[in-house]
Amino acid sequence: MDIVRWLTRFKAVVWLTWKEQSGWTKPPYYFGYIIITPFFQLILYAYMYIVIAFYSGLVNVEMAYYLVTGVSLYNFIGAGLYGLIWTVHSEREHFRTLKYTYMAFPNLQLYLLSRGFFHYITGALSTLVMLLSGLILTGVPLGTLSVKPMLLTILIILGFLWSSQLGIMVAGSSIFSSEYGPLISEAVGGILFLLGAVLYPIESLPEYIRPFADVFPMREWMELMRYALNPAYNVADPNQLLLQLVVKTIIYVIAAVIFFRFTEKLARKKGLLEATLHH
């Protein structure tokens, strides 16, 4: 059964990522680490909010909700994206296994997705912790939140899909750079942070920058996630946003397949699948 083989491969790759990420530590220590790290990141933003609120005398619950959800949810996208793209660099440059993996795994794109999957899981975990603690820290009344579970599930799947496909495209590009592959992933993460309605609405950006923000599905996803967690959150037209998100996700999936095939072929043409800097 081919599906059983695929699942076996997927399980093995997720296990490898877990071993690679956790290193020598035991699971409780590792999970402690992945929770504590973003928690301190959140404290930084929460502190900024509290200081502004204290000196201005304005306590703005909507702003706190926007800030906390933005920073927390970005973590899910960022962790997955970065982990997926980093794979090309680590497999080729550090472990020197990319050529063997390429020959063993029937589809390199699916391999990268499988490697990224674990990062999305850990990203989701830290997002959950950040979200809960952030909302409490900034004084957002949790009792007023009413989660839309169906929409939330759909959005998590869509978020995984579009961001992983973006990751696939960036990973495909990073094959052509030995040293700067990881920096490309950081740059893309940074662009999403700036243009993805994480800390501020897109409308606050200069007009000439806004079309660039529309290239990514991040804004729609972020706004809908805020809405799914709290239907009182003001979104002009959730259905329209969802439609935009679905269309963009489909475009990303198709583009990633075409673009990755192109980069894979080009990498074989240039002989870059096994090119290393011999660190």
Partner: protein
């Protein structure tokens, strides 16, 4: 006779800015099933480039290549299913995992179930004797162990065709001998149907290979069994002349003799000697020794020797296997 690997006028050009380097130049080979086929050539001759194309890691610039009947460009996925590659002188793998864990991982990635992989590891363990380091972390094992691990990984998926790129590179004599014994066993026991091996160790190729192609500067210059190739220098005579290492600079004098087809020099730093291996087209040794001594080159020993593949290479190319390109 079933041909399992075939290349037709295969060309590979690497471009670096305006410069072009022709790594393979119209290479045509045919590898029958059931043999160990050797590619013998110096560093940079094009051996690894050819293997990279045949294992689908690199696209050719021109020409065609077939592995197991599949085209390496058009049917790359089908090719990958029936082959495996083991490269020498590398340390690929996940250092934090044990050798067993690395093998368990790869077995499953190749598509074997957990149980099948476990059984397969036991089988390759019997063949390669991995016991002493199977549960050690990969980053803590020696070069010899690493190469055995690499070969074990290369056998996990029961490949029909195995590509071995310099499989004993950097190994000590004992480990190299063990690896060679295993390679021979793989073909004799029909564990693997065909092996294509590259090496610049002449003795290794002579010992292992049924058919050998000599490759230099991207071109196949001769193909045949080791015996057939040796017969290419049947009319010449081989001599080893041992001299002092300090005299080696004046050895160029040998180029004056029209009967000297070619020579190679191997230095032995420990003994302070150098061995000149020389191919002569006629019995001219007495005159050569006299001339050397007239030039104050102290000749320590002179011995006549059998023809080796290295002599064939020297005869065909005009320089030794271990000589650098000029």
């Amino acid at each position: 006779m079933l041909i399992t690997i075939e290349t037709r006028d295969l060309v590979r050009i690497f471009k670096h800015g305006d410069k072009e380097f022709r790594a393979l130049d119209k290479v045509s080979i045919q590898v029958p099933e059931g043999v160990i086929y050797g590619l013998l050539g110096p560093n940079g001759a094009g051996k690894t480039t050819l293997i990279r194309i045949l294992t689908t890691l690199l696209l050719p610039s021109d020409g065609d290549a077939y592995v197991g009947g599949y085209h390496v460009v058009r049917d790359a996925n089908k090719v990958r299913k029936i082959i495996n590659l083991v490269s020498g002188g590398e340390r690929p793998g996940y250092g934090i995992l044990t050798v067993r864990e690395n093998l368990m991982y790869y077995g499953q990635v190749y598509g074997l179930s957990w149980g099948e992989t476990k059984r397969r590891i036991e089988e390759v363990n019997e063949l390669l004797h991995l016991d002493e380091f199977l549960d050690k972390r990969l980053n803590s094992i020696s070069t010899g162990m690493m190469q055995k691990y690499a070969l074990a990984r290369g056998l996990l998926n029961h490949p029909q065709i195995l590509f071995l790129d310099e499989p004993t590179l950097g190994l000590d004599v004992q480990n190299a001998r063990h690896i060679r014994r295993v390679i021979k066993h793989l073909i004799e026991d029909k564990e693997i149907r065909t092996i294509l091996l590259t090496s610049h160790y002449m003795a290794e190729v002579e010992e292992l290979c049924d058919i050998v192609s000599i490759i230099d500067r991207g071109r196949i210059i001769a193909t045949g069994s080791p015996d057939e190739l040796r017969k290419m220098v049947k009319d010449e005579i081989i001599y080893n002349i041992d001299v002092r290492l300090s005299d080696i600079d004046r050895i160029r004098i040998l180029r004056r003799f029209r009967t000297v087809v070619g020579y190679t020099i191997k230095t032995r730093q420990l003994t302070g000697e150098a061995r000149i291996r020389m191919i002569l087209s006629g019995e001219d040794i007495a005159r050569i020794i006299r001339t050397l001594e007239e030039e104050n080159i102290h000749v320590l020993r002179v011995t006549r020797d059998e023809v080796s593949l290295e002599d064939v290479f020297l005869r065909l190319v005009g320089r030794g296997l271990e000589d650098e390109y000029e």
